[in-house]
Subunit: 358 residues, 4 copies
């Protein structure tokens, strides 16, 4: 079992698609100083092309825009004109439908945060802590679609932490059913996204399309790969999605029914000792602790716990019995790091490690 990741021989050139948006900015921030990946192109929409990134982008992050990015000229989403190996996609779903296949066809490894292809049968929906083996769908995908490259997706931000927790529970006890209520940050809606008049001092009990994703995507991620197709996990999921006046960090209340009886200390131990599969464990973006279990009764909180493991750790608290389903807990996950840009980058690292990106 390796205890180190095998580094690529030389930096791998990467592009960011949809680089000026909220998630695109996170890609730029997280790629700054990345040990394996070297950003060579920032692609943007019509309006932005030809400007420097500094001019084109309304930078929303509290750390300064990296100097290398500020001076880059924003280029069109043209796979022929971009010389890179990986295309990180922060595109909106509608644009992704068209552009991601074009990049994959041209030979790019498209690591996408968009929802466009998450449900396609031949597109892996991957969390390196959970289902690194699903990347073998790439073969099928290439064969069926005749692409030189491929698309690998990461899940919706809200269910990322949740699915990692489910994996830890599934491996140890089995999971039957779960009910999830999310309280989601405004950054999940991009920029300009939610109007301040709608959310200041308010809660909105609805996020378009979100509940469907929460109820379906974990089943694919936790599914098993059989003869080149994914058999979805047999899980019943019900979700309520809410928007709250928080900048970053999706908090989720989970009630879950396990397949077998368990003691509190066993459930706690299953969570806090959870490890990613060894191939994913030593990658640059891998958090030291995939799941951090907090004991203080009023945690996790977005403001205090969000940056655990540089925003890549899933933070769990309030583990306690549930009179209805057996167990309940609160789960916090950084929606634009672990749930978006960080997820795509972590996936790309996995693909390098697996030899899909040379």
């Amino acid at each position: 079992m390796p205890t180190f990741a095998i580094k690529p021989d030389k930096p791998i050139p990467v592009a960011v698609l949809g680089a000026t948006g909220a998630v695109g900015q996170r890609f730029v921030q997280l790629l700054d100083g990345h040990p394996w990946f070297q950003p060579v192109a920032l692609a943007g929409s019509e309006r932005a092309i030809g400007q420097t990134y500094a001019q084109a982008c309304r930078w929303l992050l509290p750390t300064p825009m990296p100097a290398w990015a500020a001076e880059m000229i924003v280029v069109p989403h043209d796979p022929e004109a971009i010389e890179a190996r990986i295309a990180f996609s922060a595109l909106p779903a509608s644009a992704a439908f068209e552009l991601e296949p074009a990049f994959a066809r041209s030979g790019f490894a498209v690591c996408s945060n968009a929802s466009a292809f998450r449900n396609a049968a031949d597109v892996p929906l991957v969390l390196p802590e959970v289902n690194p083996d699903h990347t073998s769908l790439i073969e099928t995908q290439r064969r069926q679609r005749g692409w030189k490259g491929f698309i690998v997706t990461n899940p919706n931000c809200t269910l990322t932490g949740l699915t990692i927790v489910l994996k830890a529970l599934l491996d140890r006890f089995g999971v039957e059913r779960l009910l999830v209520v999310s309280m989601q940050a405004v950054s999940g809606a991009g920029y300009p996204g939610i109007a301040s008049l709608d959310i200041l001092g308010n809660v909105i009990p609805f996020i378009d399309g979100e509940e469907d994703k929460i109820e379906s995507e974990p089943r694919k991620i936790l599914g098993s790969l059989q003869e080149g197709t994914i058999q979805p996990a047999n899980l019943q999921i019900s979700a309520h999605a809410n928007r709250v006046p928080v900048l970053d960090g999706h908090l989720v209340c989970l009630s879950v029914q396990l397949s077998q009886e368990a003691r509190l200390e066993d459930v706690a131990q299953a969570l806090s000792s959870f490890q990613a599969p060894s191939i994913s464990r030593h990658l640059p973006s891998a958090p030291e602790t995939p799941i951090r279990l907090m004991e203080k009764p009023d945690r996790p909180q977005p403001r205090l716990d969000l940056m655990s493991g540089n925003g890549m750790t899933t933070v769990v608290g309030r583990l306690r019995p549930d009179p209805l389903l057996g167990w309940k807990m609160a789960i916090l996950s950084h929606n634009t790091i672990r749930g978006a840009a960080g997820a795509s980058i972590y996936n790309a690292e996995l693909l390098v490690q697996q030899g899909y990106i040379a």
Copy 2:
């Protein structure tokens, strides 16, 4: 069946206990211009006694302090020195344990928002829309305790709207089990209550003692009175309680399993056509519509819908099937009006109507 409430012959003198606190202020606001009740005493803690209410009270409401209240001198919590018929209690639980019995012993009808006696077997826990008959426990209470007066309580703010919804469902379909996730306003914690450093841009997934109340109080309220004792309703309830940066208004996500199959339109109809029992229906604080069912997909929202029915209407939205329990919805209720001061006043009106307060 009466279509009007029978008014008392003359104004009934009332006192507010704990009048300077956040809920006490709501009592003062709601009693201003009340057609039946005339505030004659505002009682406060040591620090406040002897000052005018305007001096003693840091008024937190956006409507001006009523002029009659501003000039009242705050008096001690002394049942012998207060000449009133009803004592509205906005006391904290610890003070209520001691003071409410003293007032009841002296002959006061104590209409209490405190949690101190909600679980006592001989103390009615009443919502006029749900269980007006439970007030007959007063007989038992007086007999057992030898009091001239009595204590009637209203439930915790978070479960008030929820319980009214459950009543509507129970009557029509039966209810088996439910899972509740609350997103509660800071005013529910009183003043000064939640520190701004704790809640600005944050969610706290914990409210001390709240989940226990949500899991137990509805069972008492929805229970049946048999031979002078209450048989709790046979309901399984699981709750997650969260604090969100909202000023007023508790929003609750409910997943519920009914005892029988139902169509969406039937569930909708059961909610929107729900009526309080006739004795409660025409009281001054009774909202015209106990439950308002909204169809817009992103409602109810605290900021927009909180003051429905002057803050006495329970607002329901997002009614839809739940793959796990059958039905889900969002419920909004004003925590310091319908869930606190307004609840006590509505109870007092019921007690007048029933002849317990003459």
Copy 3:
């Protein structure tokens, strides 16, 4: 001196231009039940035309949409097709430039909240408490432009309360110079307006064009009408404009140098005893007290004091000496009522009273 306003014989039909936006909604709310004006047309943009107002409008106010408005069909901004006497304009400046003259030409009394014509030499910029006589510019305007109707404007929301305060000081002591720092609510930017990602837990020290308006408009309003033109008041004004995470209510810190020495009690008295000119004093929208002077050291606050006088009263607090300019104070004014829709309606009432609208 009249102590009552002379009512019009019968309801005056009015239209709202730009009715679906944030200020348009305030017009609809404030016109609901107005004793003199009867809304007969709600005009909207291309997208909204032909729908009911309920369908076309994302209602942002916490009081319900008036039933009469909900059912009205939104009509185009066509002066020929609308049969009304007054056109209340909630149009954005760019649309107002084109549409308001069209309505004025057709004979409408255009009472406009838009900035488009505020600086035109022949267009009155009016606050009924301050300069009701400026409406006589209407004669010049009609003559010069050959219009059957006319345009009367009200000032920018931020300086409305400020200018009323300046009027009270000017009349008594004279005013030389002032420095103004505003902290403005997000509703001032309309809907969707400010993105939540920009303002949650933040302050933005910039509002495009706002400082220019604050530095110029009060000079016109406080100016004197001489031979058909306005001689701007000789005032030096400096402004800093900031956006803060508040829903409604612009708070302004004012430092001001008077033309003569004064005692604190005299300044206080000049403010609290200020009265609108008698012609403006008894109109339906006139607040009983134009300026409310608060003595508590931490007031006024948007959350607590905004609705003074139904949102039409200017609330002043923290009056104290300023070591630099002589006097300082804090001024609160409701930006979408006194500073926008309420201002236009109050102006229309004045025009009725003056006989400009028959």
Copy 4:
């Protein structure tokens, strides 16, 4: 002129007084890994003594509590029992009045963030960028008070950035008069500090005692040391202090009159090229750029610019002419880093460099 600071030979043992409060926590955070200082004692109030710091302290910062701190036992404020050379004081003013002299008497270098002794004639009020020479007051202080150690203070959080800006302007142009309006974060009031009910969606135009500090402290800091006493700078200052719903970061609007005419580019240059005196320039806490001048029209903003220079840089924007006083701008400074704990630590580094702490 040295281009490096002279490091102490070995780590200097330091204590934090009032270590469990909001500012105390910042001290602990900033001392973690400090190259010169080694925390050996965390002192707290009665309630905390004997517990570990992890038990005693409600940690409010989004970075984890340092491991060394978590396990330290909180000790009493007893100078005889603490073996350290520097006492960083995060005490409230009332406790500081009594305890800081006791520590100074015992030989401690007390680097205090408290306001208790800031105005004492023999106590230096120091910003290393501005007046490092004022530390020579220590001689007078020791002589007059017979102390082995001494007290050095840093100014109120709100005026720290302001005073650095004034220094840059004073050196180049002279400064006559200024008007300051602050918009201050809630962390400035400590914990629990401001109640959420008071500040959510609100602005409070009052902070007790703050305006006096803003109007007086800069005059002392910018004063000149003459024969062992400080001649306050001849500046006229007027301040308005406001609390806004922001977690960290005080934003200040400044209008200022310089002693001579200047061009915009000269003022800009004076700010952006400002350097600390050479003795202060290379200390561990010295920001590379004392003043960062931003050109984007809507900056600085607390959310985006607060952590410039690790929270030690003063960020200025919106530099423009002021029709009244000549110049206006917005200034942002981190209130608990540059304005509190970071300021005290920077002062301590200066004192080491100057040889006052050996």
